[in-house]
Amino acid sequence: MSSIYETDALIADDIEAYLDQHQHKSLLRFITCGSVDDGKSTLIGRLLYDSKMIFEDQLAALEADSKRIGTQGQDIDFALLVDGLSAEREQGITIDVAYRFFTTEKRKFIVADTPGHEQYTRNMVTGASTADLAVILIDARKGVLVQTRRHSYLAHLLGIRNIVLAVNKMDLVDYDAARFDEIVTDYQKFADSIGVKNFTAIPISGFKGDNIASLSASTPWYDGVTLIDHLETVELDVHADQAKPFRLPVQWVNRPNLDFRGFAGQIAGGAVHVGAPVRILPSGKTSHIGRIVTLDGDLDVAVAGQSVTLCLTDEVDCSRGDVIATAEDPPEVADQFEANIVWLSEGAMVPGRSYWMKLGTQSVSATVQPPKYQVNVNNMEHLAAKTLDLNAIGVAEITTDRPVIFEAYADNRTLGGFILIDKMTNATVAAGMLNFSLRRAQNVHWQAIDISREAHAQQKGQSPKLLWFTGLSGSGKSTIANLVEKKLFALGRHSFLLDGDNVRHGLNKDLGFTDTDRIENIRRVGEVAKLMTDAGLIVLTAFISPFRAERDMVRALMPAGDFIEVFVDTPLAEAEKRDVKGLYKKARSGALKNFTGIDSPYERPDAPEIHIDTTRMSPEQAAEAIVERVIGVWSYDL
C-alpha cells in the first residue's frame, strides 16, 4: 500500500529539515458528510491510516475490534477508529461531530466528521461552520440521494466554497466510468439549482484506498487528481479573508496600568498596519493604529486570523463588543435584519420571544418574527411556517434591542454569523446568518402574533410577579413597598405599586370598611394586579388584607410561584406606639369602627414567601432583602 506520508526517511535522516517543513505547513479544515453507510468513517479511518496517524497499539486494538464487532468480516473496519462514544459504537452510527487530525507533507488537516442521519442537521451545521471545504460522499451504487442534496445545501448555506463530490464504493460498481459520469451529471444539475458554482468530483474507494493517496490503476479513465492531492492544493479561505476590509471585534480591553490601554481581539477580516486610520463602531470615532502588541514584540502588520492587541493613538472610548475597522470602509450598524436561521433545539422557536443573540463579541437581546418561509432541505421548496422546529431552516426577520455592528454573512462569517441563546435554559437554540439589514420603511407590515402574557414579559426581560405586602396598619408596608419599587426601577425593572391611596380614591371609592367591603376591596385589587402582571409588570400591593381567605383567593388567581406574600411583621403594641396617622388613637376612642387589631381581627400568614420582622430590620434593610430575593430568584441576566 502506498503512503501519503513519504517523509519517514526525512524524519530518520534529517529531523531538522522535516521540522522546518512541518513548521511551514498551512492548515485546511474540512467536513465529510454523507448518508449512513456511505462510508464516511471508513474514509476518515483510511486517511488516518494512510498518513500513519495510527499507532501499533491502536492498530492491534482495531484489528481485534474489527473481528469482534466490525462490519467488514475479517478485514480491518476503519470506521471503528473514529466512532468515539460507546453508545454510538453499539448502534453502529456516528451521532455527533468528531474532530480528527492528520498531516501530509504539505498541509495539516482538521476533519469534522459529521453524521448523515436525517435528524442530525445541527451537527452538520456545526461542523460546516468552521470548514474551508466539504467532502460530500455518495455511494456509487445509490447515486444522489435526498441526504446528498441536504448536505450540499447546508454546506452552501454555511458559505463553503470548495465542494468535493467523493463518489465512494467504486469497487462495488466495478469501477464503471459510465456510472461515475451519470452521478456527476445528476449532481451538476442539482448544484446549479442551488447556486453551487463549482465542485470537484473524484471516484474513490475508502475501503480499498483507490484515488485517495495515489491514483488507482482500476480507474484509468479518470484524469483528475487524488483526494489528498486536491486537499493539499485547494486555495484556502484565509487568502480571500485577508483581501477584505479590516475588522477587529474587540474581545477584551487590556489595561494592566494607567500607561497601557490595548484592545485585544482576533482579526476578522483584512489586514492592518501601524499608522492605519481606523474607525471605532458603533461610536464612529476615528483614530490611528499606534502599536500592534504581542509577547514576541510589536508587529508592523497583522492579518485576518491573527489574535493581537491594538493600541490607538487617541484616547477614544472602546470596549468589548465594539469593532475597530478601517476608516474608509466600516461595517454597517443596524437593529433589524433578515437572516437564515437553523433551529438547533428540541423546543421550537417562539416568535416574539426574546433570546440572547451572540454575534462576534457582541451580546444583545433579539426577537425573531414568524418565519417568512421554511426551506424543505430535501427539495429546496419554500414552505409556509409559523415556527421552526429542531433541524428546521428558515428565513425570518430579527430585531435587536440595540444596534449591532454587522456584515452580510456572505461577506464576513465572523460579523454575519450568530447564535441564539434561550434566556431561561442558557442553551444554544439556533444558529443564524445575517443577509441584510431592513430599513424601517421596508418593515412597516409586522406580521400579527398573539401578544401573550409571556410575550409581554419577554419584551421586558423579566418574569412578572405580584409582591403582596400584608400587615397591620402602621406596620411599614407602604414605606417598604415604596423603597422596593424605587430599587427595582433603578435596576431597570418594570413595576407598579398599588396601595390604599391610589385605589381607594378611585376604583374603590364606593367601598367602606365593613368585612364585606374589605373583601371586595381585596378582590378588586387582586384582579387589577393580575391584569398588570399579564402585561408583564412586577406589581407591588400594600394593603392590610387581614383575612387569610382573601389573600389565598388572590394567590389562586395567579400562576403558581408568581404570588409572593410579604408579611411585614410589626407587633400591635409597636404599630400603635408609632401611630403615624393617628388612626389607633381614633380607634381606641371608638371614633373609628372595624379597625384591624382593635375591633377587627388580623389573621397572620401561615407561611409567607418573605417574612420581614420590622423590630430587627430597618425599612431600608427590608427593601434590600426583598429586592435581592426578586433579582436573585427571577432575574434572567445573572
Binding site: I11, A12, I15, E16, Y18, L19, H22, Q23, K25, S26, L27, F55, E56, D57, V82, D83, G84, L85, S86, A87, R89, D96, V97, A98, Y99, F101, I110, R122, N123, T126, S129, T130, V238, Q251, W252, N254, P256, F260, G262, Q266, V293, L295, D296, V301, V303, G305, Q306, S307, R320, K358, T361, R413, T414, G417, F418, I419, I421, N426, T428, A431
Partner: protein, 304 residues
C-alpha cells in the same frame, strides 16, 4: 501585504481567542496546571493572550503527592515566571486515608484527581476551568466541545452538549454550574512539541532521556523517583537498575511508564515520537482500568 499563516499560527490565534472569551465572560476563571508539556504550552498561550498584563487568573495544581520531584520544582518556577498565583489542592480525605496507587488501585485517581478537582473548584468557587486536553488524545475527547458545560455536580453529559459554531462560544450558565474550557483542543502531539521548540518553552527534564533508577512492574518500566517511599509502602526492596529512559507523558511516578530511549534533545524526542509505534497514552495505566469506553465513563463522573 498578504501572508500565509502557518498551521501553528492559526492554532495559536484560536487558543488565544478562546482564553480571552473566557476572561471576558466568566466570573472566576482558573487554569488547571498539571506541569506537563500540554500545560506548559497552555500557560505560554495565556501569557501571549494577555500580554503585557499577566494572565488574569490563578493556576491550580490538583496534587496527588505522588508526582515526580522535578515536576514540583518546575511548578513553582513556572508560576513565578508568569507572574501568576499558584494554588495547590490536595484532597484532605485522600491525604487522611493515605490513598496510594499500590493499595488502592483506581481509587487513587478517583480520590486524588476526580474528587480533588471537584473539591478545589467548589472550594474556590471557580466557574470556568481551563484544561490542556487535546482531541487527538483519545476517542471520546474527539467529540468534546471547547466549552464543555458541567452540571452543579460536575457531570459531563455527552448527549446534551451545546452546539458550537464558528468561533462563537456560549458561556452562559446558571449559578452553581461551570465550564471546562479546552483551548488547545485542536492541537496534536506534534504541534505541541514543535511549539515548545519554536517558543523555547521550559518543560520538565523528564521528557528528555537521562540515566535514571528504574524498576519493572507488571511488565512496564517505572522510575523510582522516591525509592524509600516506594519500598516502605511495598514492604520489600525493589530491584533497581539504572537505565537511560524518558517519559512521553507525566503523571504520578508509580503510574507513569518510562520508555528506554537515547533522545536527549527536543529534536531527538520529536524524531522518536514520529517514528514510534505506540500511542501517547499507552504509558498511562488509567485508560485501561475498565476496558472499552473507560475514559468516557471517567469524564461523565467529573474526571478532567
Amino acid at each position: 501585504m498578504l501572508r500565509d499563516l502557518t498551521h501553528l499560527e492559526r492554532l495559536e490565534a484560536e487558543s488565544i481567542h478562546i482564553m480571552r472569551e473566557v476572561v471576558a465572560e466568566a466570573e472566576r476563571p482558573v487554569m488547571l496546571y498539571s506541569v506537563g508539556k500540554d500545560s506548559a504550552v497552555m500557560l505560554h498561550l495565556a501569557r501571549k493572550a494577555f500580554y503585557p498584563a499577566p494572565p488574569p487568573f490563578p493556576l491550580l495544581h490538583v496534587d496527588t503527592t505522588w508526582k515526580f520531584a522535578e515536576m514540583y520544582a518546575l511548578r513553582e518556577k513556572a508560576a513565578r515566571d508568569a507572574g501568576m498565583e499558584l494554588l495547590i489542592w490536595q484532597n484532605p480525605d485522600a491525604l487522611a486515608q493515605a490513598i496510594n496507587p499500590f493499595d488502592h488501585g483506581p481509587l487513587h485517581t478517583d480520590m486524588w484527581k476526580t474528587e480533588g478537582l471537584k473539591q478545589a473548584l467548589n472550594h474556590y468557587g471557580f466557574d470556568a476551568a481551563f484544561g490542556g486536553a487535546r482531541r487527538d488524545e483519545e476517542k471520546s475527547r474527539a467529540k468534546e466541545r471547547v466549552f464543555s458545560f458541567r452540571s452543579e455536580a460536575h457531570r459531563w453529559d455527552p448527549k446534551n452538549q451545546r452546539p458550537e459554531l464558528w468561533n462563537i462560544y456560549n458561556a452562559r450558565k446558571n449559578r452553581g454550574e461551570s465550564m471546562r474550557v479546552f483551548p488547545i483542543s485542536n492541537w496534536t502531539e506534534l504541534d505541541i512539541w514543535q511549539y515548545i521548540q519554536l517558543n523555547k518553552i521550559e518543560i520538565v527534564p523528564l521528557y528528555f532521556s537521562a540515566p535514571r533508577p528504574t524498576y519493572t512492574w507488571d511488565g512496564q518500566l517505572f522510575m523510582a523517583d522516591d525509592l524509600p517511599r516506594l519500598e516502605k509502602i511495598l514492604g520489600r526492596q525493589l530491584d533497581i537498575v539504572e537505565r537511560s529512559v524518558r517519559f512521553r507523558t507525566l503523571g504520578c511516578f508509580p503510574l507513569t511508564g518510562a520508555v528506554e530511549s537515547e533522545a536527549a534533545s527536543l529534536n531527538e524526542v520529536i524524531q522518536e515520537m514520529l517514528l514510534t509505534t505506540s500511542s501517547e497514552r499507552q504509558g498511562r495505566v488509567i485508560d485501561k482500568d475498565a476496558g472499552d469506553g473507560s475514559m468516557e465513563k471517567k469524564k461523565q463522573e467529573g474526571y478532567f
